[in-house]
């Protein structure tokens, strides 16, 4: 069974091969061939992920480190003790992520075959999709921070390429898409800046970047009290050594040992910090990376714009997988976060605030995908907050369930958009000459009544909505409940402020979630069509609906993998905390919460209340004559709605205070300081002219005689310089020989200087 672990490189390699085939032979293969290759690659990866999972279960959840075939170690600098290998890690955490990425990924690939049908650059799209899988899988399977960083930036690149996939749409849309893509990558880079610094400090602190070395099992503080003692008894590295050496242990176990020992001092370069402070710094820097990748305050602004990409991309990258990379990383580094209390607090506050702010903004959006985008930001806020309160398992659990239902929602919204476009096409074709330029297939104001036209989409969408809103027994209920529970418990049990703050903000955010989702369902599917296109919309093809159905089923069922302990019947039926105990093998501080009936009821009632409220605001009567949002008309909510609709002016703020100043400063630097002043003024006035003046003084007569006919008064700046330089070269042999002689004499005198000095008696 062990040998199964050796398959892990294949998880990455197969999509790589797939993308290479499509890249070089895409045109020849045709749409059908390309789809088979791409979907096949993704599916095979999934199969291998499943095999790895089975292997994990059968080997007693033993982690394995597998070297990359073909390539040898990546960065090796013996004299600096740097060894960063290409190595994969198979443990329960990475297997979970692999299953999510390849599983949801495969479904979305299938869907995309239908969605992208007829696109000019069909093969290219699947190249990018497979490339994304490659990077995402590297991210989750790598055994060191730098490999994770490869994936981290790689998925950012794919996101850039896919957001900008339709970069050449006419009418300014192309430019908008390109700009959105650029924004995504640059904002991510800001986060990566933090991540890189964090990785650097990590390296100098521990002397390695490996999570765990081969054959090493995670040890915990309280390992001694644990019934299952660690298999691997680590030898203590030389603690007395003041600077980091590449010890025999991975970073996490070194951290554990140092924490247990206490008082460890980290010294490298000119830095000297206590180990605890170092961890705080590292985790805060990592957090900056997370805010970029997982769209948290203050760097979440890119994600809503990222919806410019094709819908499958939004589903795969900007909802299900890539954006959760930040959560994955923090869970991976749970040892650090667990030890760094201050960082955890910051994480919790940022996560919870993001959840609330994004939920608030989502209420005021008209674009069907934008609502979902803010919803994603909000849900990511939930996960991050969960990490912040120490609920690592709950964060991962929510990650998994969210991947399913958010992918479902996005795909369904894609199906809606497809249907609307179809309808619009139908309409404008039927009445040639009449077509409105204002029409936007993504604007919910043009929709309505799609329930009848697109039943499959409607039902699956409903499933997704209920899951997201957290209605029992849908997946969202279980995971969201666990997060709320854990944060409350952190507050009550441990007395940490982060728990209380997190809980309050998250509960409000949960209410917002239910509200804006039901608003969306009402606007899109209920009531009567508000536009001809909606009236003529058609259900999408099988290729698109089947993945929807599968995901809908998953949204319903996936929550059962982690039924909390103490839940009646189901707990007994399905086993309690299956997922958490699965994760515990690789996530040291994963812990399970006991079910609280009171809290669960409160949460469900809150969600139902929000849905009821939404239903009453967006009643059929209102929907029939919808021009403006009822909230925008109602004077009491008018102002709040405007604020939400304007996204809290967050983008405007960045533009005004960061982007424009940077750009203007760049222009000023480039044109004024560097070019006018440094390049021209300093060069000409301070260097060239004095030189010329000196030349003139030295050869005044020559100058006067020759200047008249060698100087072209009308010449422009360049020629002027050239001719001025030329002036010292008169062309007269005498002058040349004279200068040569003079120079030679000078050199001679210089050489003989000591002798002459003696002679003069100096």
């Amino acid at each position: 069974m062990d040998n199964f672990f050796d398959l892990v490189p294949l998880v990455v390699m197969i999509p790589l091969v797939g993308l290479l085939i499509n890249l070089f032979a895409g045109r020849q293969l045709g749409e059908r061939g390309v789809s088979i290759v791409a979907v096949g690659a993704s599916g095979m990866s999934f199969v291998i992920a499943v095999l790895l999972w089975i292997a994990q279960v059968n080997t007693g959840y033993e982690a394995a480190v597998i070297d990359m075939p073909i390539l040898s170690d990546w960065i090796v600098i013996p004299s600096a003790n740097v060894t960063i290998p290409w190595a994969f890690r198979v443990d329960t955490l990475s297997v979970t992520m692999m299953l999510v990425v390849t599983g949801v990924g495969t479904l979305i690939h299938i869907y995309a075959v239908g969605y992208m049908h007829g696109d000019e650059r069909f093969p290219r799209f699947f190249v990018y999709m497979n490339l994304f899988l490659v990077f995402m899988l590297i991210l989750v399977t790598g055994n060191n921070f730098l490999m994770m960083f490869v994936g981290w930036e790689g998925v950012g690149l794919c996101s850039y390429l896919l957001i900008g996939f339709w970069f050449d749409k006419p009418g300014g849309v192309g430019w908008k898409n390109s700009d959105a893509a650029r924004k995504a990558l640059i904002v991510n880079r800001v986060g990566d800046f933090g991540l890189v610094l964090g990785v650097l400090i990590t390296f100098w602190t521990f002397g390695t970047l490996d999570y765990y070395r081969e054959g090493e099992a995670p040890i915990a503080h309280h390992a001694a009290t644990d019934a299952e003692a660690p298999l691997f008894a680590p030898t203590l590295p030389g603690e007395e050594e003041t600077h980091a050496v590449s010890g025999p242990l991975g970073v996490f176990n070194q951290a554990e040992l140092w924490l247990e020992e206490g008082g460890h001092q980290v010294n490298f370069g000119m830095v000297s910090l206590s180990f605890e402070t170092t961890l705080t710094v590292i985790t805060l820097l990592f957090l900056l990376g997370v805010t970029g990748k997982s769209a948290q305050i203050p760097l979440f602004v890119w994600l809503p714009d990222a919806m410019a990409g094709p819908t499958p991309v939004s589903a795969l990258i900007h909802a299900a997988t890539m954006v959760t990379a930040g959560v994955y990383m923090m869970v991976r580094a749970n040892v650090f976060y667990h030890a760094a209390e201050f960082s955890s607090f910051v994480v919790a506050v940022i996560g919870a605030t993001t959840a609330l702010v994004a939920g608030f903004i989502a209420v005021g959006q008209w674009d069907i995908k934008r609502v979902l985008a803010y919803s994603t930001v909000s849900q990511l806020g939930f996960m991050v907050a969960a990490v912040g309160v120490g609920a690592y398992a709950a964060a991962m659990f929510h990650l998994v369930t969210h991947a399913c239902f958010k992918a479902l929602l996005f795909l369904a919204s894609g199906s809606v958009i497809h249907g609307m476009e179809h309808g619009h096409h139908h309409v404008s074709h039927g009445h040639s000459g009449h077509h409105d330029d204002d029409f936007d297939p993504q604007d919910m104001r043009f929709m309505g009544g799609l329930k009848e036209r697109m039943p499959v989409t409607y039902w699956t969408y409903l499933f997704g909505t209920l899951a997201l809103a957290g209605i029992i027994p849908f997946a969202g209920f279980w995971s969201k409940d666990e997060i709320l529970l854990d944060s409350l418990k952190t507050g009550v049990d441990k007395g940490l402020l982060s728990g209380y703050v997190g809980f309050v903000l998250l509960v409000v955010a949960a209410a917002f979630t239910a509200f804006y989702m039901w608003r969306q369902v009402s606007l899109v599917f209920l009531g009567k069509p508000r536009h001809a296109a909606a009236a003529h919309a058609e259900e999408s093809s099988r290729l698109m609906t089947w993945p929807l159905i599968v995901l809908a089923v998953l949204s319903l069922l996936i929550g059962f993998i982690n039924v909390p302990s103490g839940f009646p019947i189901l707990g007994w039926l399905l086993g309690e905390h299956q997922f958490t105990s699965f994760l515990e093998h690789s996530v040291t501080y994963a812990h399970a919460g006991t079910f609280s009936f009171l809290l669960a009821t409160f949460a469900v009632l809150l969600a139902l209340g929000a849905i009821y409220l939404a239903r009453s605001v967006y009643s059929d009567r209102v929907l029939a004559t919808l021009r403006e949002d009822p909230l925008a008309i109602n004077p009491r909510t008018q102002r709040a709605f405007a604020l939400s609709s304007a996204k809290l002016y967050w983008d405007e703020f960045y533009f005004k205070y960061l982007i424009y100043p940077y750009r203007n400063a760049a222009y000023w630097l480039a044109e004024q300081l560097d070019w006018r002043f440094w390049h021209d003024y300093v060069h000409e006035r301070l260097l060239r002219d004095p030189f010329n003046a000196a030349t003139r003084a030295l050869s005044g007569r020559v100058d006067k005689q020759v200047i008249d006919h060698s100087f072209d008064g009308l010449g422009h700046a360049t020629r002027r310089i050239a001719s001025r330089l030329r002036r010292i070269q008169t062309g007269y042999v005498h002058i040349y020989t004279m200068s040569v002689l003079f120079g030679a004499l000078l050199v001679m005198i210089l050489i003989l200087l000591p002798l002459i000095r003696d002679w003069l008696g100096l």
Binding site: R726, Q729, T730, G731, Y732, V733, T737, M738, L741
Partner: protein, 104 residues
């Protein structure tokens, strides 16, 4: 040092005087051929100094360098005179003041 030999300093002094005379010729004369001959004079002055030092240090290398200088001078004269002939053909003059094509 044998008293019968003339001191090396005298040779060097003679060579220096000849050299600077040649140099003056190069700078002041305007007839290209004379300029050339002055160059030859300078070369010979240098050769003389070299030979004198060679004797002083009983080193064959000095002689070798003199030998090479002579050879190079021969080459130089060949090319230089060829140039003069060519310039004369086009310019009808060998006054170097009329020839200032080396202008940058």
């Amino acid at each position: 040092m044998g008293s019968s030999e003339v001191a090396v300093e005298l040779y060097v002094l003679l060579s220096a005087v000849l050299f600077i005379m040649g140099a003056m010729g190069v700078v002041l004369r305007r007839n290209a051929i004379l300029v050339f001959m002055s160059v030859e004079l300078m070369l010979n002055a240098a050769n003389l100094a070299l030979a004198a030092f060679a004797r002083q240090w009983a080193s064959g290398s000095g002689h070798l360098v003199v030998f090479f200088v002579m050879t190079v001078a021969a080459a130089e004269v060949a090319v230089g005179l060829a140039l003069i002939v060519t310039i004369f053909r086009t310019k009808k003059s060998i006054d170097i003041d009329t020839v200032h094509m080396f202008k940058g």
